[in-house]
């Protein structure tokens, strides 16, 4: 059975309607269980905002951490060790952010880092590969990354590790399990899953 879970970060649950396999995050603390998964902010002093309910529902709001040298940690309990495809929107539909920092960890092991020293302008988002996408392009053009998790604890840290301008702003995160136990699957099947995640 597929395990596909998405989180839309914002301030008010009913601000937009989440898609299938998605839920909202209103700076919920860990552990929160919703949409069949346990997750939440495990550390940090993050804040939340509703931004624009007319854009793609996944980009309608943010949770954020000021780039003051502190970091916030969003944790997801995975159902099993496996490969997961990660979709990301790191940006803000309303304001420019002078610096964006995002790090993906398998428990404590770093799997990916976006250290965007130029930040994002309004209506722009870094995707999971760190490439900047205009808001109108992100739904169809964002690129995903695939990572192997040897533990069942996924951690996402946001906030520059040293003081920088503005805030690191997390709008959307989506995880799609590829194959339990870290098994490899045919490239064609991976491509199918990636296309499906981005719909």
């Amino acid at each position: 059975m597929a395990w596909d879970k998405g989180w839309n970060f914002r301030d008010t649950a009913a601000y937009v309607t989440d898609g299938t396999n998605e839920t909202y995050v209103l700076i919920d603390s860990y552990p929160t269980t919703r949409n069949g998964v346990t997750f939440g902010w495990a550390a940090g002093a993050q804040q939340s905002r509703d931004r624009d309910s007319t854009v793609d529902r996944r980009l309608a709001g943010i949770n954020f951490q000021a780039n003051n040298g502190a970091q916030s940690n969003f944790r997801v309990d995975l159902p099993s060790t496996a490969d997961y495809i990660v979709t990301l929107a790191l940006g803000d539909t309303a304001y420019s952010q002078g610096y964006q920092y995002w790090r993906l960890l398998d428990n404590t092991t770093v799997l990916a880092t976006i250290d965007d020293t130029n930040g994002t302008v309004g209506d722009n988002y870094d995707d999971a590969t760190g490439v900047n996408r205009a808001e109108a392009d992100w739904p169809s053009q964002n690129a995903t990354i695939q990572k192997t998790f040897a533990s069942t604890t996924l951690n996402v840290k946001i906030g520059a590790p040293t003081a920088q301008a503005d805030s690191s702003t997390l709008a959307h995160l989506f995880l799609s399990q590829v194959a339990a136990g870290g098994l490899s699957i045919p490239v064609a099947a991976q491509s199918y899953r990636q296309r499906r995640v981005m719909v």
Binding site: P31, T32, T33
Partner: protein, 133 residues
Amino acid sequence: MASLEEYTLARDSIHNVEGLRRDMRRNAAGYKSDVASARLTVVQAAEIMGQDAREYLRRLSWQDRVDTPGSLRVKLGNGFAVLGVVLAEVRLAVNEMRAAAEALRDASKATAAEINTTADAVLARVAAHETVW
């Protein structure tokens, strides 16, 4: 007096149990509204309900680990004593929620009516607690 470890064990335990109570009730109401509004199909809702039930039982197992005879239970009890909470009351709540989670996991959820009935059973089994906000 309790040590920092004992206090933290008790605080996190209450955070987990009372947070789970909130999640179970909110999610039960959500299943009903999501099916009624067609945000989720019956099949999708049933799958999420099963996944939620397994997650509830996993979170309750955390409580089982610290509340079994042994040194951890002593530490937990010392932490609860400082907070003025009786360990037996927490255990009662855990049992109540476990029964609800198991019923949620095992119930037939093949129709919208069964989704509603199952969700209502969670709301009936897991008492609402007042919150500050």
